[in-house]
């Protein structure tokens, strides 16, 4: 089990890895736009691809060092199309009801909130409370990096 060490987490190199990957994916998406690029359906399709690209870029930048990134990469690889994301969430809810991955000791006093957290963090349903808290901390750091970089890119392209 990895000991939580904030010094080992280097946000600037994570940021540069994410930025490079995400920009590369963005230009791929941009290059593939058809001539009728401003129809709402096309914009929605592009929105989905950008969101998936952002999540994928972050998960790849973390690689398999974390349970949540491994879970997200697995999810992205096995279910690439947009409709199945709804299915995955439904399956996850069913899994939450039947999984017995956590012992009674772990969940004393944290039952409902921990389950909510398990739904939000990728791969959370299989984690015990200790791992869940580790993974959540790292996941939050990565999400904030993702948001910061995306904001800068959006500001850059804004008129």
């Amino acid at each position: 089990m990895n000991k939580y060490n904030p010094d080992r987490m280097n946000p600037s190199s994570l940021r540069s890895r994410f930025t490079t990957r995400f920009l590369r994916n963005l230009s791929k998406i941009h290059a593939q736009k058809p001539s009728s690029s401003s129809s709402p359906a096309e914009i929605f399709r592009r929105y989905r691809r950008i969101k998936v690209a952002a999540d994928k870029s972050m998960a790849y930048s973390v690689r398999s060092r974390r349970t949540w990134s491994r879970a997200m990469l697995w999810k992205l690889r096995t279910r690439p199309c947009s409709t199945s994301i709804r299915k995955t969430r439904h399956e996850k809810q069913n899994k939450n009801r039947t999984t017995t991955a956590t012992t009674g000791e772990d969940r004393v006093g944290f039952g409902v909130e921990a389950d909510e957290l398990r739904e939000l963090v990728p791969g959370g349903e299989a984690m015990d409370l200790c791992n869940l808290l580790h993974e959540t901390a790292h996941y939050i750091k990565c999400l904030t990096t993702q948001v910061q970089v995306m904001k800068k890119i959006a500001d850059f392209y804004s008129p």
């Binding site: 089990m1 939580y4 904030p6 600037s12 940021r15 540069s16 930025t19 490079t20 920009l23 963005l26 230009s27 998406i29 941009h30 736009k33 690029s37 401003s38 096309e42 914009i43 929605f44 592009r46 929105y47 989905r48 950008i50 969101k51 952002a54 999540d55 000791e105 772990d106 006093g109 944290f110 909130e113 921990a114 909510e116 957290l117 939000l120 963090v121 015990d128 409370l129 200790c130 808290l133 580790h134 959540t136 901390a137 996941y139 939050i140 750091k141 999400l143 904030t144 993702q146 948001v147 970089v149 995306m150 904001k151 800068k152 890119i153 959006a154 850059f156 392209y157 804004s158």
Partner: protein, 92 residues
């Protein structure tokens, strides 16, 4: 010595101590902007977890909004030759 060893094995394998959990929860508290100001107050662990869930949800929403914004912006941009400039300004 073997007694010490078996005791530490017990603490990581069969029983996660309350101190460990409290430590992790306080570390989480540092990351959440809402709760960072109240560092010296006693914030209950379930409140921390609740705020964590809210914070993650708001971050997800921000990602979705930014993706939406980017998809509209990309529609109107013609070339992405500025990419090198972006990378430089972001990583500076």
């Amino acid at each position: 010595m073997s007694g010490r060893r078996s005791r530490s094995k017990q603490s990581t394998v069969s029983r996660i101590t309350d101190d460990q959990i409290a430590d992790l929860v306080s570390k989480l508290q540092q990351l959440i902007p809402e709760l960072r100001r109240r560092r010296f107050d006693k914030v209950s662990s379930s409140k921390v977890l609740q705020e964590t869930c809210n914070y993650i949800r708001s971050l997800h929403r921000e990602v979705e909004d930014l993706s939406d914004r980017l998809s509209q912006l990309l529609a109107s941009t013609d070339s992405d030759s500025d990419q090198a400039a972006i990378i430089r300004s972001l990583l500076m």
